[in-house]
């Protein structure tokens, strides 16, 4: 187990390095003058040069690359072009706020989706199964911002439920904050419910068809016992992987949701960085999302290794 973890961790570090490289390359495709881009066409030449020197974009590209990589592993993303503040100080609070929203969304999604998946699997090809599968397919294919906008049109305007602005006034209690966050979280629940439900359905169906489920049935266990004692444990491994991946991907969809609900999280931070061409902030936020993905998939693999002795024992040798 220890060696498995170590190997998995090492590969995560390599992936993170590649990720940072990809981000660096994208940002530096156009060699252009960063100072000019940020300060605009009317800025004085001297100011532009000074700006470039201050942020280090006048250094050779290779040096910039190394400092960019160093920043990923020290979690220090430099300073914002625009405000000059530490990127850390901008992105961490934003991440915390997005995290609250994401957490709420997942706390709702995971149990509902897994239960729906098991429900559908046990009624394979019946009407209720088709309903779950097709609903899941439809909702997960709609972009999050569309769901958010439609939800807002319906709940906030027609029914006067929920809040148009998701940002609670400071000092709102946890329960009070829920009222603000529920609707945007719901938009994400709708988007992520489908994948997880379909994956857990597929896993359970695979388990139901397995030889070991046949053995368990022939032993004289009831359907419920076969499901609980034998199938679920094996069937949920792929679902765990999907959930971990979705946790990382959630930070893509959250941009649209935050924009619609005017919520100041990581997504909004990235958007304003896009508009002001504040590359360090954008880069920092993007890499942070990558790190979250790494951590969540790593945890998922550990969990799977815990559930599946084969992974745990064979790779340990």
């Amino acid at each position: 187990m220890g060696r498995y973890l170590l190997r998995r961790l090492a590969s995560a570090v390599v992936t993170l390095w590649l990720l940072a490289t990809i981000v660096f390359l994208i940002v530096n495709v156009i060699p252009g003058d960063v100072g000019r881009r940020v300060l605009g066409p009317f800025a004085l030449k001297e100011d532009v040069a000074l700006f470039n020197h201050r942020i280090g974009t006048d250094r050779p590209l290779i040096n910039q690359y190394f400092s960019s990589i160093r920043r990923v592993f020290t979690l220090d993303f430099g300073n914002s072009y625009v405000s000059g503040d530490l990127v850390r100080k901008i992105v961490y609070p934003a991440l915390f706020r997005s995290g609250k929203l994401a957490l709420l969304a997942f706390v709702i999604t995971i149990p509902v989706a897994i239960a729906a998946g098991i429900f559908a699997a046990r009624r394979q090809d019946k009407v209720s199964d088709r309903v779950v599968v097709n609903t899941g397919l439809a909702t997960s294919s709609i972009p999050e911002f569309v769901t958010a906008a439609v939800l807002m049109s319906i709940f906030c305007v027609h029914w006067k439920l929920g809040k148009v602005f998701a940002d609670p006034p400071s000092g709102t209690s946890v329960i009070g904050q829920l009222r603000y966050l529920l609707l945007p979280a719901l938009a994400m629940v709708i988007a992520y419910f489908g994948y997880i439900a379909r994956m857990s359905r597929a896993g359970v169906i695979h388990g139901l068809q397995s030889d070991y489920a046949r053995t368990a049935t022939m032993k004289g266990l009831s359907k419920g016992q076969v499901m609980r004692r034998h199938i679920l444990r094996n069937a949920l491994a792929p679902t765990i992987t999907v959930i971990s991946v979705q946790i990382g991907y959630l930070f893509g969809g959250i941009i649209g949701v935050e924009k619609v609900f005017n919520y100041h999280g990581l997504g909004s931070t990235m958007l304003s960085a896009v508009i002001s061409k504040d590359v360090p902030v954008l880069q920092g936020a993007v890499l942070l999302v990558g790190i979250i993905y790494m951590i969540s998939t790593l945890l998922a693999d550990v969990l799977i290794a815990f559930l599946n002795p084969r992974v745990r024992l064979e790779t340990a040798r």
């Binding site: 394979q124 397995s210 030889d211 070991y212 046949r214 053995t215 368990a216 049935t217 022939m218 032993k219 004289g220 266990l221 009831s222 004692r229 034998h230 444990r233 094996n234 559930l307 599946n308 002795p309 084969r310 024992l313 064979e314």
Partner: protein, 678 residues
């Protein structure tokens, strides 16, 4: 062995006129067309037949475990007097827990991969109402009962940590937990190595005596049925066509299908030089076919007008009422038996005068796995003469497939080894061999589904090989393809089909045609018939023998089936853990004296003829090639090991007779003495 229990008044299992259909695309297709048989307590009953005949379906229907689209549409299944087809869910559940058990084909899949053996076993006992502590004790005892040496340790393992043989023992222990009235064994040893299979079969034999369960054994291997079962039912197209005590049915078959089945097996040490194998013309009717009268009608040489119009009744055979056949003409069976096919023309035992075409010198192959070296092939020296067939036999990890790949250059041999064709060394891997060398050596694979590109037509498959290997293009290539196809008895109609439109036997014919596209000198056949039914196997073996007689081609024939290799091979090499343990003319290898491993392999085969086999059994498992034993690699399992010698030095492959060599420390005369005394 085959003590016939007289039909007792109490039957453990009675299947009465069972009919099962599978619904495929909204159409009900008949799989079982009225199956009836019964098994007495303590009796073993075998069901045999080729693929798709419905024997597994019968077994599963008896425990009412059918696929979602399968349903019982007629008949009853009585176990201890209770009708299984009428049980409620909870009755069925307790029936399965206490009355009936099953052992499956693939033990690795049959156990939950993520739950320890102990817990899975204990669960069975808890279901019987035992307390956790008692169940744990019972579980240990049950492992002891299936002769597992260290039960406590095995309890603490996961299924994948056990070998196939051990896994099947655990599954058997689980099945016996409730002391069932009915034990169903579905191909319990298929997929296991011969020496391991022999051990599992021995165990089943012993356990049968200990318990009073009625045993229903499903197997395609007639030898297994004969060695284990009191009575046998021969199934064809969803019906039992013949039934009776197994030795009587196998020695004196009374249904044309049983006759065909038995005659297509290479038996009684028959060789290709003596006669061709009999085949059953045609193919199994498709599932759900309309078969209003006799199910075997289309393939039966005895069929006449009566057969086409009247359903054959269950006709008793003999006066004791133990046998029946569903045939109108059991009296004409002797006609069939007398009509034995002739030997293929031109097959002659190769003489020393034949030139050598292939010589392997010092051939080794070492794989690198996670930094460690795995020797899969060690110092192999072999020669092959023109027109000769060299059989290669061995179990998992013996290196026989690696040998094939190394000869063909699919894997490059380690440096120092040499493959020489007509005396000239060829490059170690295919891509650097000349077209002439590639053309000279071709291969026939085990599984034609994998070997033929499923999106290509037969014509394209053959044309491409002809063009690539012979350089002939265009019209000339077309002509050659058509000639080739005709030679392999494929009709022009077959050429425009895709592989999936062909039956298994026809697919294998196409694969053989491809191998012969460039008039090869050597064809390496890797288990070419092990995926086929016996009647199809016979046709393919005949074809290979014919082609050899006509083309003077040499075969390297890899197989695990001793009957097949005896029929086809002129010489045999026995491999174990990458080394040749014995090589010699077929008769010498079969008649002995043998290397102890060969001896064990030969005695592991359950014979359909009921010939007594010696009882050499091997201890333990085949070691991993990654970590071979010291000295003679066979010594940990060898029943004739000489302590102090065998584990220290590896014996050399030394000649013990003309063309007969062996890798053993025991002198040949000593082996002869040991093996002739019972």
């Amino acid at each position: 062995m085959t003590t016939i229990s007289a039909p007792s008044t109490t039957t453990a299992l009675a299947v009465e006129d069972l009919e099962v259909v599978y619904t495929v695309r909204g159409v009900d297709r008949a799989v079982l067309r009225g199956v009836s048989f019964s098994i007495a307590p303590g009796e073993a009953y075998g069901l045999v037949g080729e693929s798709g005949c419905g024997k597994s379906t019968t077994a599963y229907a008896a425990l009412r475990y059918l696929p979602r689209n399968g349903k019982i549409v007629g008949g009853r299944v009585l176990v201890g007097g209770d009708d299984v087809t009428n049980m409620t869910t909870s009755q069925l559940q307790s029936f399965r827990a206490t009355e009936a058990s099953m052992v499956y084909q693939d033990p690795a899949q049959a156990m939950n991969p993520s739950v320890k053996i102990g817990r899975q076993l204990i669960e069975s006992f808890v279901l019987l109402g035992q307390s956790k502590a008692d169940a744990a004790k019972s579980a240990l005892e049950s492992l002891d009962r299936v002769r597992i040496a260290d039960p406590a340790r095995v309890m603490d393992r996961y299924p994948f940590q056990l070998s196939g043989g051990m896994q099947q023992r655990v599954v058997i222990a689980m099945a016996l937990a409730c002391d069932p009235k009915l034990l169903v064994l579905d191909e319990p040893t298929t997929g296991l190595d011969a020496t391991v299979e022999a051990e599992v079969l021995d165990l089943v034999r012993v356990l049968r005596k200990e318990s009073n369960a009625a045993v229903l054994l499903i197997a395609h291997n007639l030898g297994i049925i004969r060695s284990l079962c009191d009575r046998v039912g021969v199934m064809y197209a969803g019906r039992i066509v013949e039934e009776g005590p197994s030795h009587q049915v196998f020695d004196d078959p009374q249904h044309p299908y049983t006759v065909g089945l038995l005659r297509s097996l290479p038996r009684h040490g028959v060789r290709k030089t003596e006669r061709a194998l009999a085949t059953i013309p045609g193919m199994l009717p498709l599932i759900g076919s309309n078969l209003p009268t006799c199910v075997f009608l289309d393939r039966c040489p005895l069929a006449d007008e009566t057969c086409r119009t009247v359903v054959p009744p269950v006709a008793p055979v003999g006066a004791d009422g133990l046998r029946f056949t569903r045939c109108h003409h059991p009296d004409r069976i002797p006609e069939m038996i007398e009509a034995l096919p002739d030997a293929p023309i031109g097959i002659l035992a190769p003489s020393d005068a034949n030139p050598e075409v292939l010589e392997l010198t010092n051939l080794s192959k070492t794989f690198k796995q996670r930094g460690s070296e795995v020797p899969a092939l060690v110092d192999v020296d072999l020669q092959l003469a023109e027109g000769e067939t060299l059989g290669i036999v061995g179990e998992s990890g013996s290196g026989k497939s690696t040998l094939a790949k190394t000869i063909l250059g699919i894997e490059s041999a380690d440096s120092g080894g040499e493959v020489a064709l007509d005396g000239n060394t060829v490059a170690p891997n295919t891509s650097s061999r000349s077209t002439a060398d590639k053309r000279a050596m071709q291969m026939v694979f085990q599984n034609p589904d994998s070997a033929l590109n499923r999106s290509w037509s037969v014509r394209r498959i053959l044309t491409r090989s002809v063009e690539k290997l012979t350089g002939i293009k265009g019209d000339a290539a077309n002509k050659r393809v058509e000639a080739l196809a005709a030679h392999l008895r494929l009709t022009p109609r077959h050429l425009d089909l895709k592989p999936r439109q062909l039956s298994g036997g026809l697919k294998q014919r196409v694969a053989i045609a491809r191998a012969f596209a460039g008039d090869p000198r050597i064809v390496v056949c890797d288990e070419p018939t092990s995926a086929l039914d016996v009647s199809v196997q016979a046709a393919i073996l005949n074809l290979l023998a014919d082609l050899q007689a006509e083309e003077k081609v040499s075969y390297v024939f890899i197989t695990h089936d001793m009957g097949v290799v005896r029929y086809l091979a002129d010489r045999i090499a026995v491999m174990y853990l990458g080394r040749i343990q014995e090589v010699g003319p077929t008769d010498d290898v079969f008649n002995g004296p043998n290397h102890p491993y060969t001896e064990a392999l030969l005695s592991a085969i359950p014979s359909v003829d009921g010939e007594p086999t010696s009882r050499i059994r091997l201890e333990g498992e085949i070691p991993s090639p990654a970590n071979p034993p010291t000295g003679c690699v066979f010594h940990p399992r060898c029943p004739r090991v000489i302590p102090g010698v065998c584990e220290v030095t590896e014996p050399l492959l030394l000649e013990v007779g003309p063309g007969h060599a062996m890798r053993c420390h025991i002198p040949i005369d000593e082996l002869r003495r040991l093996q002739s005394s019972p």
